[in-house]
Symmetry: D3
Subunit: 338 residues, 6 copies
Amino acid sequence: MAKKIAAFGEIMMRLQVPGYELLSQAGTLNYSFSGTGVNVTSALARFGHTGYLVSALPDNTIGEAALSHLRKLGVSQSFIVRDGKYVGMYFLENGFGARPSRVTYSNRQESSFNTAPAGTYEFEEIAKRIDIVHFCGITLAMNDSVRHHMKTFAAAVKENGGTVVFDCNYRPSLWGNDGYEKAKPEYEEMLHLSDTVMMNEKDAMFVLGMETEKEERTEQLMDLIPAIAKKYNISVIAGTHRSINGDNTHSLQGFMFKNQAFTFSKELTFSVYDRIGAGDAYTSGIVHGEAEGFSPKKTVAFAAAAAMLAHTIAGDTPMSTENDILRAMTESVGDVER
Amino acid sequence: MAKKIAAFGEIMMRLQVPGYELLSQAGTLNYSFSGTGVNVTSALARFGHTGYLVSALPDNTIGEAALSHLRKLGVSQSFIVRDGKYVGMYFLENGFGARPSRVTYSNRQESSFNTAPAGTYEFEEIAKRIDIVHFCGITLAMNDSVRHHMKTFAAAVKENGGTVVFDCNYRPSLWGNDGYEKAKPEYEEMLHLSDTVMMNEKDAMFVLGMETEKEERTEQLMDLIPAIAKKYNISVIAGTHRSINGDNTHSLQGFMFKNQAFTFSKELTFSVYDRIGAGDAYTSGIVHGEAEGFSPKKTVAFAAAAAMLAHTIAGDTPMSTENDILRAMTESVGDVER
Amino acid sequence: MAKKIAAFGEIMMRLQVPGYELLSQAGTLNYSFSGTGVNVTSALARFGHTGYLVSALPDNTIGEAALSHLRKLGVSQSFIVRDGKYVGMYFLENGFGARPSRVTYSNRQESSFNTAPAGTYEFEEIAKRIDIVHFCGITLAMNDSVRHHMKTFAAAVKENGGTVVFDCNYRPSLWGNDGYEKAKPEYEEMLHLSDTVMMNEKDAMFVLGMETEKEERTEQLMDLIPAIAKKYNISVIAGTHRSINGDNTHSLQGFMFKNQAFTFSKELTFSVYDRIGAGDAYTSGIVHGEAEGFSPKKTVAFAAAAAMLAHTIAGDTPMSTENDILRAMTESVGDVER
Amino acid sequence: MAKKIAAFGEIMMRLQVPGYELLSQAGTLNYSFSGTGVNVTSALARFGHTGYLVSALPDNTIGEAALSHLRKLGVSQSFIVRDGKYVGMYFLENGFGARPSRVTYSNRQESSFNTAPAGTYEFEEIAKRIDIVHFCGITLAMNDSVRHHMKTFAAAVKENGGTVVFDCNYRPSLWGNDGYEKAKPEYEEMLHLSDTVMMNEKDAMFVLGMETEKEERTEQLMDLIPAIAKKYNISVIAGTHRSINGDNTHSLQGFMFKNQAFTFSKELTFSVYDRIGAGDAYTSGIVHGEAEGFSPKKTVAFAAAAAMLAHTIAGDTPMSTENDILRAMTESVGDVER
Amino acid sequence: MAKKIAAFGEIMMRLQVPGYELLSQAGTLNYSFSGTGVNVTSALARFGHTGYLVSALPDNTIGEAALSHLRKLGVSQSFIVRDGKYVGMYFLENGFGARPSRVTYSNRQESSFNTAPAGTYEFEEIAKRIDIVHFCGITLAMNDSVRHHMKTFAAAVKENGGTVVFDCNYRPSLWGNDGYEKAKPEYEEMLHLSDTVMMNEKDAMFVLGMETEKEERTEQLMDLIPAIAKKYNISVIAGTHRSINGDNTHSLQGFMFKNQAFTFSKELTFSVYDRIGAGDAYTSGIVHGEAEGFSPKKTVAFAAAAAMLAHTIAGDTPMSTENDILRAMTESVGDVER
Amino acid sequence: MAKKIAAFGEIMMRLQVPGYELLSQAGTLNYSFSGTGVNVTSALARFGHTGYLVSALPDNTIGEAALSHLRKLGVSQSFIVRDGKYVGMYFLENGFGARPSRVTYSNRQESSFNTAPAGTYEFEEIAKRIDIVHFCGITLAMNDSVRHHMKTFAAAVKENGGTVVFDCNYRPSLWGNDGYEKAKPEYEEMLHLSDTVMMNEKDAMFVLGMETEKEERTEQLMDLIPAIAKKYNISVIAGTHRSINGDNTHSLQGFMFKNQAFTFSKELTFSVYDRIGAGDAYTSGIVHGEAEGFSPKKTVAFAAAAAMLAHTIAGDTPMSTENDILRAMTESVGDVER
């Protein structure tokens, strides 16, 4: 059933060196606008839901370009505030084979989103008009003011009977020294407010400081996740295990823990064109499966196939329709479609 | 020995999204002009023959651009009629890994070629000036008027002692519902007029409705093809078996049935850059081998190597010289040539 | 006051040769999606109104790309039907100095819009939800079925108390031989249904067959327009006089006839970057001025400045905000804005 | 009447910095193949004649690319010899306003054309198969061996009753110090062999060392040209006067001296997009007018309009049809053609 | 005589939308690195001096790209400190005709340059190794810490017998409300330290708050500048008067006040390709003329021609050699140079 | 320890067809400037040494562009002479899978470097100011005059106590028929002057005409290299064994012979983006390892990893920092770095 789904998060400008040159070699950049919230709501809009972004953009030509881009992606702008002065940016140099891709950030802390004062967003109003809200650990890492927005919004949605989705997504470089220590209480607060959580055993061990005697990652996962679900009263915990192979391919296996049971997808191995944002495709698959009442088996398979296809799409934002994904779940690689 | 070879077929405009973006993401298209007839005669011109296209183009800037492009490819324009109003077009979105390439057609039925009235082409005259003519199943699928042109031309060439080459190339989307039923009598008529035919066991089973108890495709092939050669009095039947591998490579094995005997090429496995038009490269290899009096073994190896190289070339149209192909038949992949 | 404004018209794909090469020289095209309705509603959306397009697009990758593009332009898609098979296209080669720009059309008659059967659109429903509707003479030239849609929709809006805007926009190549004769009754029917009409003395003389003894075009205008306003009971008639100068500049003077009085703008002279769609910018200025209750003097000046700026913008569709236009009305050309 | 027209000249690779960057700023070049002979025969092919190039190209990938390009331009390759090792190249940086365009040559002396030994071309054979041959002063400047080819070919055409066209085109940088002194006897020899000559009063004064007491250039022209026509027994002498204006426009007036009478075109003033090769468009106009039996008045107007349009076309080679030029002769600058 | 010339200033990344699209229309940006100091020292390096930049860049891929770009421009990097985290950026949308160009800044205050702590630069050491230092009013507007660097450096150079050049360059948007009030004491301090100053009567009236009864700008200039020279003991004051014409051209007249006398250049009128950085070209011309001991008349003419040529060059940074400028001073616009 | 390292060699212009089109298909080229000496000194400059090029460039726009490019790469220009008329060029068409890359040269023999007369370079002066000099077998193949420069310079460096590095790099196409015979004495002379030599067993067998009874290449290497080191008194001999795999990957193993002992790197297998110049990266790694006093094991591993990364970098010239290489030596392929 079509849902109204909002995400709270920053809209960033992605500035990508085309092809495989370095920033110090090239003279041209391709740009687009993305962010975890953009990616998730855009993917869900493509599946037939209504996707809203709750965010802030400056009232200048860059904010205007960001809005145009979001409209193109099918994300509704009703809850975007025009305030503040800057848009966060990141530069992307594509890796090739043995040379990894490289992301360099501009100063995000000064962006409209990260400087939005209390009272910027009408969370009470918004919470009444949506079914599901999505948050991400990257936003949690920003600053106290943003964290306050986040928790206020989550609580409001919860109170109105909506579903809170939280993607742990711990980025070491954002939390700095003693990062795990700083992050733990913030994560715990968010987990208490959440219904669906994206995470795996690493988040459990490093962010939440949990311990396990298992050594293999699937065993660690199966050891730790049920305890988290119980402790924080979380209905669905889902995530992936990724391995990076030597030959420009990645392998990915999705999992989901729900009603005390684990479900795993097949391990998919595939060529990678654009890796950024593929995790958000997985999240959108889980949210869609739950919204549509898919079986856990179908949900995990759908989410994993959505993530696989997102690796073949240019840009951060998934572009596949439900149909594209269903076909990728059943068929082998095909010849030209005509 | 250098031959005069004509093809009867539509010239289409190919509009390709550069790189790996979708049409809904990009803002730029690369364009060129191609078609089975263009590809085969251009490839043969590159081997030293004279290639003519018998076709129709509108007298406007798009027709002019098509002619410029054909001249660049080395195809003679003496038999191209300027009439009608439109050029058929297709859009190509490149696939990547798990995401297949996608072709979307504009309305071909209104093109100059597909609306050319009876009497448009001087088939009698042309038949006297050429040695070989090439037809394709795509053209056969268009409409009654085009089919009438096709058979008139084939008969004229036959009468003048020329060779008729027919590539079965059945495209389900062009024949619609009950396609096989509609197509069968048309195909049979063409087969009766043909000396060299490109097909494999699938055409035999689906288009001609033949049956076999074999299950493996090579066995099916060897079971069915000799019967066709006999029934329609065809000198040479040739074709390929293609498999699409998981790692962006294809495998291809060519075959040829002549004088009651099958000849097979090695199975070649190779990386694919542009798959469209590679079948036409195989056809051009068979026609060239026969024209030059190669042994069946050499002809099939040449045609398979021509097809392999066509997968490494941008655009629909093969660009390899005889020399390039002969080298690819004998050598392993080489370092930079300087 | 912000209005709900719909346009009924075809969405076309514009395929433009970049820079100043001809189609037979280049190998790349820039593409976008436009049409009179797209241009007018997008411009009005940028002025703060809600713009809807009532149109049809095929359910394929080209239709999808058109929708993405429209969303980017800020046009609402609630009333766009996905049906039919094709999108109309046109190719644009940019002129330079003494060499005029050249437009070449693909077959529009087969497009989703031009083949939409009766009952495709819920005109009664739509009419209830909008304040203003816009039609164009290009649409009127298409075929009987489209003309029937057009008049049904206009009547429904009229009945619901809405405003009907009609841009005469007579294109000789679309009406063929005896075009004026065929067009006249259709135009008359539309004029009877219209409240605001875009036209000038040429439409009066050629399409409506009116006569005047004046020789200078402003005198002809002032002689003929009042009679039309009276005969068809039209509240506002507006339009422009354009002259094309030798030095890559155009001159434009806007006029408006309302309450028995003519108002003229200054004649503006300006450099031209992209001439296509500039007339739609003028229309959007008139509609906006009327919606906001501007004085005729301000409305005409605003519309003329909107048209002038539209000549400096890439693509068919105006991109200026109300602020940009107000500034262009008062200031001389400025230095870099920083 | 359609003629068979050959040109003897070098095919050069043009490497142009796109836009207005300098070679030391940019990283990309657009390339094409041109040369006076290419430009003249391609333009004449577009007018309906058959154009041949008599030249030499290396048997490598650059020679192949040059041939593809020539085919695209409609120039016949029957008389192009594949021999030698290199293709001459020049780099073009576009000027803007006060900054002039700049051409930098690679080493032309080592090109296939400039190193072709005696006996390379079958001039006797070719002379029998053509009506008109075109030569250029740039070729005359190359070296003794090329000059010998040139004169041998001219004499053979003359002997076979053909027409010899010679474009004086003196380039100071190619003749070096004491250039006029070295050039004079070579030019005189060519003039004796020529029927139609492109030159103006500057060639008369500087290359041929003639003197006049007139000071204004038209008077100088009218003083000197008749004497040359008489002395060398030349039927037609034609040329242009160009002035470069401050505002990115050029002015051009064409003239022709025939049957003891001068005919002048109007002075045309126009914006300039690509100035290189415009002189060759003028030549092609004169040759076409004479071939078709136009009146001198029409011939000169046609040639001047052809030259004007060539300034609006990307690349060295004229692309206008006879129709385009006839229209430009009569009409003022037009709006978009659709 | 070749001098050692340093500039103290920020290195910014320029992100320019190619052609004439808006940021909300395009998807690609051209980037380069510039700044007043970069432009002036690079231009002077091209005239044969040694140019150093005294600045700070982060130790990441963007800083690396900036260094590569500066090396390409010929600016020495010996005095560039690698510290801090960000590079200031600005986005440029090119205007066309009636639509002005538009610059949008990212957050400069967080850049390496603007956050460099006291002690970052070894001003004493640098002052001993250079002859001339250049400062700019844009730098003066940044923050106290930068202003402190600036004055410390200026004082150190003065003490070591070097020449201090200061370009007033007041940017209202950088000083905010009550900007003139805040700016005045800072400017006065810098003027006391300066030997050569770039300014005109507007700076005198608005920044320094001086009054004049004259109304025409040249008269105002001649009234106010001598008083400033006297009050602050400045040897050379130079600047320009610019007017922006309706037809894409600008007019520029340079002046210089030295030894109690004014010298003016001719007023130059020229087409504009890239206006940004042209003022820096003028400054570099004045500094070069003084360094070489040109007469004031030659210096002003040279600086004005340098500024004119800079308007025809892509990017902020002047690229003309002394030779290019000397030629532009004497010749009219020329034909292609070959 | 940071060294002063010069290379003596030609600077060539690389003109590369973008993507995978052939020169006869495309219309655009990417250009850069490179050469063995450029690549080695630029790589060493990136490792913290000072790199100089000793070479010659013409005083025109192409020479200027080459200098800009070299500056960007961080190579010092103090020893580059501006003389002669041309720059050597090569065209590169990228191969794909079964189709090898193809290099086509323009006429190098006429370049500034290859026509520089005796006395062009101040070898005595330069030799005093550098620690290490690098030569290459490509330079040795040019002509007598270049060979004379080379040996004079090598002797001068030797005399001043510097280190001579010589990369054998035998290119058959440059030496022509009986190439080995012509080359042998030249190579022997260079080997006598060298301290560090890049070569493998093929150079020993083919160029030096040595014989071995071993059949496997590593055994041949171990049989022949020690004898060469002894005979020519060479301290370090290093090189690689490369194999080209079917799947677009190459395998590479580096070796080094020093103090009578062989050291081998692991065999690395990796995807290849741009193969040209990767050998120079290996050389730079060996020179750096020796300069820094790395153990042979670390030096060979470093050089092999440098070569591997150079295959992932666009253009001929290595761009990796010491840090990038050290990381690639220890880590497996990583995810996006952010």
